[in-house]
Symmetry: C2
Subunit: 180 residues, 2 copies
């Protein structure tokens, strides 16, 4: 993005840099989320509780990515998701108000916002297609391709629910893959 150094300085001043230890919860279901996070290092995930009260991973956020309960942050409605930090992280955060300020000051930022959302949209659509029409095994392979790093850092159960299968099934898939 073509910002001058002065602009960049000003923009970065609006963000707060923090070290966040693992297992910390950043957003709770039902809260209106006021903060957008950018992950410098570490790992986060969003999840929700299904009818049976089971945690369903909705998304993983790796380093270099923006993390938010998208619906809640952008529409300022109660979040459907929890967001938690899975690995000790360094995170830049910004409130909705400050971000909107930036959007007003720097129209170029709107573009950035639009591009970030569009990228996210593309990824979600990809996952949708993977989930909808691939076997459990193929979905796991899609995940290995899309988030190679994450597959090792994260517990089986988190990944399984992300991929829409039980952890038993994922365990069996891993076993059958390793035999070969």
């Amino acid at each position: 993005m073509p910002f001058t150094n002065d602009e960049l300085d000003d923009i970065l001043k609006h963000f707060k840099k923090e070290a966040i230890p693992k297992n910390q919860m950043l957003v709770r279901q039902g809260e209106v989320s006021k903060t957008l996070y950018f992950i410098e290092s570490g790992l986060g995930r969003s999840y929700y509780l299904n009818q049976a009260g089971k945690e369903i991973t909705q998304w993983f956020f790796g380093s270099g990515k923006f993390m938010a309960s998208a619906d809640s942050f952008f529409q300022q409605c109660p979040s459907l998701y929890f967001i938690e930090v899975l690995e000790d992280a360094v995170i830049y955060s910004i409130t909705k108000e400050k971000l909107d300020e930036l959007f007003d000051t720097y129209p170029k930022m709107e573009k950035l916002g639009r591009l970030v959302t569009t990228e996210m949209l593309t990824k979600v659509v990809n996952k949708l297609n993977a989930i909808q029409f691939q076997t459990a095994k193929e979905r796991y392979e899609y995940m290995l391709a899309e988030f190679p790093d994450i597959s090792y850092q994260v517990s089986l159960g988190h990944i399984a629910s992300y991929l829409g299968m039980t952890q038993e099934t994922l365990s069996r898939i891993r076993k059958s893959n390793s035999r070969k």
Copy 2:
């Protein structure tokens, strides 16, 4: 959106209004799509061909909605999807270049763009959750709730593939619903 009448006039001038008959193809897989469509009336769908060569409906677009092969239009890459008109339609279309012109002239438009994408994102996430963790019957009910009109206008096979099930299964679900 707070535009003056002059602005609105200018914006609308960039769009082309057209009547498009049913069964017309607007975007083909592999093409880079240069056009964004807004459906005044009528109905469209996007779909792709899976490995077996079967058409898989990816999305339905009803009146009052924007329609595009999102990845292709926004990132200007070859489209993964076909887009076709299912019911005679009246459509406003705009090219990528003209839209970008508008974005440059009217920063407020960026915001609009961002909001449209965000809304889309929310819907895709909803569908993802429906597909990922609900039974075939529940998915059909989700569809009846989300697109009540579409369920009647569209062929069984199109809907079944959209919902990630076979048409036989959908036919049986409809039968069991009507018995009650």
